[in-house]
């Protein structure tokens, strides 16, 4: 059974003839453990698609199912629970809370989870260690580099061990060395069984994916690139 199903998703802004279709009838499915890259030009609708898949942007039409759950059939509070349990987000601009330490930022998704402080701390440290940031746990976001911020953001995305990772241009603000580090982390995550959906401009980053979806004018372009065999060592991103 397909793990993620997008069925004729439409996102329309405005009404009548002046309405803009950010995504316009996108349908595809993703298997559990798959690594999918979504590519397209600026304004093609790929980020809107990701926000819809992130249960943060209700589609105007169509259905979005994850693990057989009709995500937009859930109430607002249930959608919040869904995001916490199923999704991890990695954003281009890191989105770390500036007044919380790196560890506290990583522990954010655990705030509303019923676990002891020690358990949450241990999970946070484990996630930070996984991205190689354990020694920076007490720093504030403005005390670390951009690459480290992105790694901290990845740690936050995986701290509650979600089955899906949604990444929006995760290397967009990074140099090639840090991009490579981040992509390696994404690949390791995927190899550990996490389903990764990544929006990217970078063809090099997209090579890490098993499948590439091209979005043009809000629709999936013909000729999805299928990578039957994972590219294990692409050139620097």
């Amino acid at each position: 059974m397909d793990f993620i199903v997008c069925d004729n998703l439409v996102k329309r802004y405005g009404k009548g003839p002046s309405a803009v279709h950010a995504i316009n009838g996108i349908s595809f499915s993703v298997q559990s453990g798959e690594f999918v890259a979504v590519m397209g030009e600026s304004g093609s609708g790929k980020s809107t698609l990701l926000s819809v898949m992130g249960a943060m942007n209700s589609p105007s039409q169509g259905q979005y199912r994850v693990d057989d759950i009709d995500v937009y059939g859930l109430s607002s509070e249930q959608q919040a629970d869904f995001r916490r349990e199923y999704l991890g987000f990695v954003f281009q601009s890191f989105h770390l809370v500036p007044y919380l330490t790196v560890l506290e930022n990583v522990m954010l998704p655990l705030t509303t989870v019923k676990k002891t402080k020690a358990e949450k701390r241990s999970m946070g440290m484990e996630a930070l260690a996984w991205v190689g940031m354990a020694e920076k746990s007490a720093r504030l976001p403005n005390e670390i580099s951009g690459g480290e911020m992105e790694r901290a953001a990845i740690a936050r995305a995986i701290v509650n061990q979600p089955p899906i990772l949604l990444a929006d241009e995760p290397t967009g603000n990074l140099d090639s060395r840090n991009s490579r580090v981040v992509m390696d982390l994404m690949q390791r995550l995927n190899q550990s069984g996490v389903t990764v959906i990544m929006v990217t401009h970078s063809a090099t980053c997209a090579q890490f994916a098993q499948r590439i979806l091209n979005v043009q004018d809000g629709r999936l372009a013909d000729g999805q690139v299928e990578h039957k065999q994972r590219v294990l060592a692409p050139q620097a991103a």
Binding site: M56, S76, D81, P98, T111, T112, N160
Partner: protein, 385 residues
């Protein structure tokens, strides 16, 4: 990390905004505490002073042609339709609804006697209640026991009496046990003896001429008590001697009403300051709220963060406002209280009320910003970064 920690950390980070909200609420609470506390303290002070004035209700026999000169009673004339008060009527006084407000009951029997050919007025009183009813009395010598006399200052001078003298009144020998220091009242003219002795000497056993009642205390319903006493003692006339007090208390009551009105306005302004500042704070934190929502915070969690912030500041504002308000009362008393500073009345209820009020205003003012924060679309919120 807990939601409470996030809220506290944000407060620490936005110190200026937190201080602004705090100042708005503190000014409101302090003003309310100061004006209400000032009025309360003044009322308390007046009541305390009035309690020291002694009796404020008089019970006298009901008679149309009775003329009075002591406490409104004159004993020169004889009233045939006078219905004296009897000692057995006294316990009824303590059975009225507001009996708890009665501080003392002082029965007095009055009668004219002759001492060394001089006419004098003998008053039989209850010396126990006299301590409350006549706190200004200063006795040189001893308080009289049975068949002993306490002589008023003027009476002692005219009659040439001093402690230790024994005088004959009708068939009774009465010993002067003490002399009253001048009081400037009619008491200076009288001879006092215990009630029983006076009734025996005057040949009026069980009879009472007048009853003094001390009932004025904080919030005593004196008018209601007069009505209750009249009902219990239908053959007596009950009078309240509190016109001046009443006038002043009414002025204070007006001031209190004005204070409450002013307080409502100040609290509303304080609430608006909190509302506007929290709104601006929520707007500033749009992206941050977006992150919270993206990582799985429910709307209720976001609201809780705002409410905790508002609650913490409000609690602090309530406490500080109360302390500053107390300072305001003290200053007000010093400036306008005519030396009533010593009467500064610290009411714990006012303190609890101030903190509760601050909390309610803070939380109420936080409802709209919290709702706005909770309703924020996480996708739109994240785009603000």
């Amino acid at each position: 990390m807990t939601i409470r920690e996030i809220a506290l950390r944000n407060l620490m980070r936005r110190k200026a905004k937190a201080a602004f909200i705090l100042a708005g609420l503190v000014i409101g609470v302090a003003t309310v505490v100061a004006v209400i506390g000032f009025a309360e303290t003044m009322a308390h002070d007046i009541n305390t002073k009035l309690e020291k004035y002694g009796a404020n209700i008089l019970i006298v026999p009901r008679a149309d042609n009775l003329t009075l000169s002591y406490g409104g009673m004159t004993l020169g004339g004889v009233s045939f339709d006078l219905q004296p008060i009897h000692e057995q009527d006294l316990p009824k006084i303590r059975t009225i609804k507001n009996a708890a407000n009665i501080a003392a009951v002082g029965p007095i029997v009055l009668g004219a006697v002759k001492i060394n050919a001089h006419p004098a007025l003998l008053a039989g009183i209850d010396f126990e209640s006299a301590h409350i009813l006549k706190p200004w009395w200063r006795i040189s010598g001893q308080q009289p026991a049975d068949k002993e006399l306490l002589v008023g200052a003027e009476a002692g001078r005219i009659l040439g009496l001093s402690p230790g003298d024994i005088i004959k009144v009708d068939n009774f020998d009465l010993k002067v046990s003490g002399v009253l220091a001048p009081t400037g009242s009619q008491d200076d003219q009288l001879l006092f003896t215990p009630l029983k002795s006076a009734q025996e000497v005057l040949g009026r056993p069980g009879e009472i001429s007048i009853v003094e009642v001390a009932a004025l205390c904080h919030n005593c319903p004196v008018d209601a008590m007069v009505a209750q006493l009249s009902e219990k003692l239908p053959s007596a006339k009950v009078m309240a001697i509190q016109q001046v007090v009443k006038g002043r208390m009414e002025t204070l009551a007006q001031f209190k009403k004005f204070s409450f009105g002013l307080s409502v306005v100040v609290v509303l302004v304080g609430g608006l300051v909190v509302l506007v500042t929290l709104m601006s704070s929520v707007k500033e934190r749009t992206a941050e709220i977006g992150i919270f929502r993206a990582v799985g915070f429910r709307r209720s969690h976001v609201m809780r963060i705002i409410f905790i912030e508002a609650g913490v500041i409000s609690l602090l504002a309530g406490f500080l406002g109360y302390l500053i308000g107390l300072g305001g009362i003290w200053s007000g008393l010093k400036l306008f209280g005519h030396g009533a500073v010593s009467a500064l009345h610290i009411d714990p209820l006012l303190g609890a009320g101030a903190i509760l009020m601050a909390l309610m205003v803070g939380i109420a003012a936080g409802v709209y910003p919290a709702a706005i924060a909770a309703r924020m679309d996480p996708n739109q919120a994240l785009k603000t970064l």
